[in-house]
Symmetry: C2
Subunit: 165 residues, 2 copies
């Protein structure tokens, strides 16, 4: 069962001048999507879109920190943040910053909605300190990168489903 | 030479609904104030207002991290962040978060102005993600805590001046 083509791309909107909202449907039950987002071994399989990802720190609980380093063709890129809230299997609130712009911190609120038919809707709202930082992210190629990550995540979810059988 | 009484309290204003601006004059040259803000040994002498402060991490350069733990009568309190910019002796931009509200990140822009008469004006602007977080800080007793820290800093600056003679 393949998803309809329009479900393969994340839907990106801007609810305010400091926010980016993304929505994406996955063909997997919510528990499985949750696992792919919170198991470091699984994260390394999709987060880097084919690039090696080293999970240096990952403490998915209130106050815990996370730090990933993606090793791409142009060298390493570090990303890090801290968890505000981790509520399995439906909600994570965390901060996000890229080493290339240290101290420019985004608050990401991710919710996973069980669609009741074996599919899961992911909604993420990113809040920036300023409109300029939000616009910078929109023009950074984030849409392509996100769609590549989520396409890799589709494959991880499919393989987890095969294992579960 | 004592400062006029009104110079002993920080002047606190709210330039926007997500900002707090504070201003405080110190009876010390800018280089000395800069040193008291960027030397970990000196920081422990005033930051905790008499409470023990452990500097767990302090890397005052772009992308560097900092983390202080204050040991007060009610137990330890951790504070941490990351430096965006460190421009001696006049400007630091850094993030700030308290362990009690992890992931609620403030951007602090501190400038030190040489008043030309041996005194230095400190201006700090704190930018919050939301007006609610800003209001929470205003009602947290920050004004008293800040004035206690700056009074302790006055003493450190005076003793540094005595050493310099």
């Amino acid at each position: 069962m393949s998803p309809a083509p329009n479900e393969n791309k994340a839907k990106i909107t801007t609810p305010s001048d400091r926010e980016i909202r993304t929505e994406r449907i996955f063909n997997a039950p919510r528990e499985r999507v949750w696992k792919a987002f919170t198991n470091p071994e699984l994260i390394t399989q999709w987060w880097g879109r084919g690039n090696k990802v080293v999970v240096e720190r990952f403490e998915p609980k209130r106050g815990g920190h996370w730090r990933f380093v993606e090793h791409g063709p142009e060298g390493p890129n570090g990303f890090e943040g801290r968890f505000r809230e981790v509520t399995p299997p439906e909600r994570v609130v965390q901060t996000f910053e890229w080493d290339g712009m240290p101290g420019h911190v985004i608050v990401e609120t991710m919710t996973l909605e069980d669609l009741g038919d074996g599919r899961t809707k992911l909604v993420n709202v990113s809040l920036f300190h300023t409109a300029e930082e939000r616009d910078g992210m929109l023009h950074s190629g984030m849409e392509q990168g996100m769609n590549e990550s989520y396409a890799a995540l589709d494959k991880v979810l499919a393989s987890l489903g095969a294992t579960a059988r």
